[in-house]
Amino acid sequence: MAVLSVSDVGISFGGLRAVDGISFGVEPREIFAIIGPNGAGKTTLFNVISRIYEPSTGSIVFDGRDITRIPPHDVVRAGIARTFQNINLFDNATVLDNLMLGRYRHHRSGVLRQTLFTPFVRREKLADRRKVEEVIDFLELGKYRDVLVAGLPYGVRKIVELGRALAAEPRLILLDEPSSGLNVEETRDMVFWIQDMRDDLDMTVIMIEHDMSLVSAVSDRVLAMSSGRMLALGTPGEVQRDPGVAAAYLGG
């Protein structure tokens, strides 16, 4: 059974149909890529799934639960984490603190217990720290642990943002252009990490990506979009051979 089902989702801004009649299902432990030319509505679709935008039509069901109308801060509690195309981190905090905030959804202690710093809070904090250290090891961020995010190079910040999403231990992770701005070596690392997220961390991955070599290397299925609509859905090979997809990219 699909872990995420998107049914007939559409959204308009004024008269513009930014996303129109999109339906697909993503299986557990699948790596699912969304491709398309600029302005195709890929990020808008991500923003609808993660509840920044209110869809005008359709529904989104995650893990058997309708999440079409939940508030944005409940998205991560439901088990969906995401990264952003233009990196959203807490710039004046260290890498460690950024990852620790990724653990926020797992906290159970209330304000009173927090203030008194009871043993329960202590244990919770220790468990968080252990999980965060696992993520730091996984992404090889050790040498940046105590560095302020604002001073880090773009490629590293991108990985820190991925780390914060992983620290939340989501079942589904949404990656918006994971390879943009990365150099060749960093992109190769990204391929391995995405595969490990599925193989070792049991996650389902949906990513928006322009780099077709990365898409072909890791994705099980690809959804191609253009002008808010679905062009093709299938294996990377099938989608690449689709005449409509080629036409959309070449402006035909």
Binding site: S50, I52, P71, P72, H73, D74, V75, V76, R77, A81, R82, F84, N88, L89, F90, D91, N92, A93, L101, G102, Y104, R105, H107, S109, V111, Q114, T115, F117, R164, A168
Partner: protein, 295 residues
Amino acid sequence: MDPLIVFLQAVVSGISIGCIYALVALGFVLIYKATEVVNFAQGELMMVGAFFAYTLVDLGGVPFVPGVLLALLATAAFGVILNHLLLRPLIGSPAFTIVLATVAVSTLLRAVVAMIPGWGVETHRLSNPLAGQVVPIGKLVVSAEHLMVIAVTVVLVGALYLFFSLARVGVALQATSQNQLAAGYSGIDIRRMFGLIWGISAAVAALAGVLLAPAAFVHVNMGYIGLKAFPAAVLGGFGSLPGAVVGGLIIGVVEELAGLYAPEGVKNVAAYVVLLAVLMVRPQGLFGISKRVRV
């Protein structure tokens, strides 16, 4: 009298009034950091807090300390309600609209307070257990009220520091102030955080009102002290909590010294002169971080 003693006396009372500027400035900065709104009703929240304390302690007969604590709680609740009724519906509007709404709130609060029987436009005295007592420190004679203002400010700033660095809610507030989008997707309920910050900020303002009352009485226009606290916040860099405190202290001390040594009238403009001088050298304020916006 020894000129050094005169100087030190002025410095102590400057620090004391500076603490009150600092508390009001902290209120400005807290709300601005978390919500990117400059709340021009901050001085009026302070006034409302002082009236709550006056009503409980002097009209209601509640002992001073519990009365003041109740007044702080009541003002915090008032801040939360204000945010809920007036500012939450404006989320997503241009910043200018929201700032003007706070200006409207400040005018409205002054008008409403003036209409309430027992409050009105008269000057009230908030009774205070330390009234008239003095503490000699060497050759200095310091009023107990001044010492209380300084002590309470130190304790409050310390408590706020611990809250923001240790408590989970405090950390969540910090995260919200740095990046709302990222905070939301880490599972932080931003609307709840906005309510909370308005509550804290209103309580801090109320405390400033109670501390100011012995020196300036409780009056419908006492909120105009915000006009002095605002430069204090700007001086400190506006986004910085320690900056607000240091800015408040500098303005308080400069004012007192100007009153002592400079010609009549300079005292009233001293805050703005200092502000202009500092901004010419450091446009981002003393503790501000200069941000370059990439275009």
